[in-house]
């Protein structure tokens, strides 16, 4: 009996109830005294594999679609270059901060490619690359980190939720959106991204619990990159793996090599299909590594050694895919050059556009707080407007001193 199979009595009870869309395995549950008690779901099918699932360099690779592998390769190369360029922009003062996903590109890219256009992506602040791989303009993706506004794009247009800074707080949003879509009869799936540190947050727990109870079509992707800023996973959890946490909620947990783009894409693809079919949520733990520091403002040498980083460089997502493609004769010099050139062109364009000063209107501060401005905000907006007018009439304070 599968984890969601129901007894005849439970099915009858469900039919009698007023439920129309949701089918909840626990709906007919009533407490029974211990002699009659039995587990509500069989935990065995929910358990993750004992080792992270891999495709590249294994027999499973033979079944991988060459076209998909080449697509993943080009996206990884572009993603690596994007991370490098964004980090460089912090040094030039063009970005306030950049939390790099260097080393985690396989997760970022696979998450974006596993979704259909009608699906929704719920990224955290480290996941601008996933948004870019989904098709978002990199300048718009970086708006939050540039600091000219909080969100630089229309989430509804791209079906990408705003980048979430408070950890794991976007996960319940993904659950609610997926639930609402299901209630409306749309076969939309939400994919929500979180890090290993974020799994300690209460919102992670609540989101997974709601998702499982509602059987919401949502996929949770945990990028376990080993550190929450400086704190290693061993100080974060005593769970056998983060994927094991799924079992407690009654959903399957999948453990995957997060640097194996083909494996991440396959596992996420299966989880997305399962959700779309009405099979409910899945928790995916992708084991990866944050090659760069937490952000450009962090010093990773204070909490980890070079040898660890070097070991992970040996297991680099681009190198893994390159080796597979080269070994199968799928990646010629031309393809490598084309991917590198495309990435370089993206970086040059990004650099050029980020070097232009953004046009800011201070009056925007009051424009979107409410649908209609309150009296208080109208008064304060008038005050700022008067200050701006005085400033432009008299010149900026200190302007004379700057005269050369």
């Amino acid at each position: 009996m599968g984890p969601y199979a129901r007894s005849h009595e439970e099915v009858l009870a469900l039919k009698k109830s007023s439920m129309t869309v949701r089918e909840r395995p626990g709906a007919a549950y009533r407490p029974t005294p211990p002699p009659a008690w039995k587990p509500r779901t069989d935990p065995a099918p929910l358990l993750p594999d004992p080792e992270p699932y891999r495709v590249l360099g294994t027999d499973a690779a033979a079944g991988a679609d060459p076209e998909l592998l080449l697509r993943l390769y080009a996206e990884l190369v572009r993603g690596r270059r994007y991370n490098a360029q964004a980090t460089a922009l912090t040094k030039q003062g063009r970005l306030a901060v950049y939390p790099s996903s260097t080393g985690q590109e396989a997760c970022e890219v696979a998450a974006a490619l596993a979704l259909e256009q009608r699906d929704w992506l719920f990224p955290s602040y480290r996941d601008t690359l996933a948004a870019v791989a989904r098709g978002l303009d990199p300048v718009q993706a970086l708006t939050l980190l540039r600091g000219d506004w909080h969100t630089g794009y229309d989430p509804c247009e791209h079906r990408i939720a705003p980048l979430s800074t408070p950890l794991a707080t976007q996960l319940p949003h993904a659950v609610g959106l997926a639930h609402a879509a299901r209630l409306k009869g749309d076969d939309v799936v939400a994919l929500a991204m979180v890090g290993d540190g974020g799994t300690s947050e209460g919102d992670f727990h609540e989101a997974l619990n709601f998702a499982a109870v509602w059987r919401a079509p949502v996929v949770f992707l945990v990028q376990n990159n080993g550190f929450a800023i400086s704190v290693p996973l061993s100080k974060q959890t005593a769970a056998p793996s983060l994927a094991h946490k799924a079992v407690g909620y009654g959903m399957p947990g999948r453990l995957v090599d997060g640097n194996d783009a083909a494996a991440v894409h396959e596992v996420l693809g299966e989880a997305v299909s399962r959700a779309r079919r009405g099979g409910g949520p899945t928790l995916v733990e992708a084991v990866t590594y944050r090659i760069d520091a937490h952000t450009n403002a962090d010093d990773a040498t204070r909490y980890r050694g070079d040898s660890e980083v070097e070991a992970w460089r040996e297991h680099d997502p681009i190198r893994l895919l390159e080796a597979e493609l080269t070994g199968r004769g799928l990646l010629g010099e031309d393809a490598v050059r084309a991917a590198a050139e495309a990435a370089e062109a993206m970086a040059a364009r990004l650099r050029e556009r980020m070097n232009a000063e953004p046009a800011l209107n201070p009056m925007d501060l009051f424009a979107h707080v409410y649908a209609e401005q309150t009296g208080q905000l109208r008064e304060q907006a008038a005050q700022l407007r008067a200050e701006l007018e005085a400033e432009s009439a008299g010149g900026a304070p200190g302007a004379e001193g700057d005269a050369r």
């Binding site: 007023s18 869309v21 949701r22 989430p155 319940p172 959106l177």
Partner: protein
């Protein structure tokens, strides 16, 4: 006239009016979803959602897992997909786990997305004391909400307003924290649910009683206290005006200041703590705008600056008629004589 006579106003409670507001909103708009702890089969611990699951199904009136952050967090996602969630927080002090969602997401989603993602969410919170509740069941938490830009904060004091303001809250495209004075849930008034009177939009205060001596500025559970105080004050020779704010955000400076300019004296009354409570902000606003009309400083009658007391002592904490009249007596009347 004939139908109105057939469906005459009869005594209804505030809880019934609130239920009716949700029912009518759900009937009119399939996007309206009610969710919370025990709101379905049970009809809510205060029975405010009584019958909604039966009438609209569990998909429209949903018993959620017991997790306030999850309730409000999933409501955010539902609103992102075009629904209009009405969330019930079971008690004032049980709403605190949802604060991060409320403050970090609900209040600022419209702003951070430049208007692309408005969140039409109503968060219903039973609040205030006076029902003999044990610890964590009697908080007046409005100061936390009004200190958060992006939220509307509304509270009814009458049966009629309970219906009208909740309809307005649900219809609003902005998030509304809808504070329900739980001690008034069973207050009654003649009210006809079939001909609900139109209510001013959110953000308009109302003068509940006109008077010339001084203005009592109040809201929610303290409105009946002030009305009673105004009646008692007549024998003392004071003719008190009572302003029911109805909405703390947006704040109706116009109605409040017009009243204070007429009377020249004002007392702010609420259950919430005085230090950091809404009364301080309102007293400042009134003073800034009406300084030359004031005959005395704006005084505050508020809950003490203590954690909410145990039920056997709460009567000493809650602003009552005597404490209001004591404040009125301190409004420097001797200056006039």
């Amino acid at each position: 006239m004939s139908t109105a006579t057939a469906r005459q106003a009869k005594p209804a409670t505030m809880a019934q009016a609130l239920q009716r507001a949700m029912r009518d909103a759900m009937a009119e708009d399939p996007a309206v979803h009610v969710m919370g702890e025990d709101v379905g089969t049970l009809g809510g611990v205060f029975r405010v959602t009584d019958g909604l699951a039966e009438e609209f199904g569990e998909d429209r009136c949903t018993d959620t897992p017991l997790a306030e952050a999850g309730i409000l967090g999933t409501a955010v996602g539902m609103a992102m997909y075009g629904l209009r969630p009405v969330v019930e927080m079971q008690f004032d002090a049980f709403a605190y786990p949802a604060f991060e969602q409320l403050i970090s997401h609900v209040s600022r989603m419209r702003n951070r997305t430049r208007g692309a993602l408005p969140l039409p969410i109503t968060v219903r919170v039973p609040y205030g004391g006076g029902i003999g509740g044990v610890e964590h069941h009697s908080d007046s938490s409005e100061a936390y909400y009004i200190a958060t830009p992006g939220l509307h904060v509304v509270t009814p004091a009458t049966v009629e307003d309970a219906y009208g303001l909740l309809r307005e809250a649900i219809a609003s495209d902005d998030p509304v924290v809808f504070l329900e004075p739980k001690r008034l849930y069973w207050s009654k008034a003649d009210w006809s649910p079939d001909t609900p009177a139109a209510v001013a939009p959110i953000g308009r205060a109302v003068v509940r009683r006109t008077g010339r001596s001084a203005t009592l500025i109040t809201y929610g559970p303290s409105v009946p206290v002030c009305m009673e105080a105004a009646d008692a004050a007549v024998s003392e020779g004071w003719d008190l005006e009572v302003v029911d704010l109805r909405s703390l955000v947006p704040f109706d400076d116009e109605t409040v200041c017009a009243s204070v300019r007429r009377t020249g004296r004002a007392v702010m009354v609420h259950e919430s703590t005085g230090f950091g409570g809404p009364g301080g902000e309102i007293a400042a606003r009134v003073t800034e705008r009406c300084f030359h009309h004031l005959e005395a400083p704006v005084l505050r009658v508020a809950g003490f600056d203590i954690p909410y007391p145990p039920p056997m002592l709460e009567r000493h904490h809650l602003p009552g008629v005597d404490r209001v009249l004591d404040a009125v007596a301190r409004l420097q009347w001797e200056a006039e004589s």
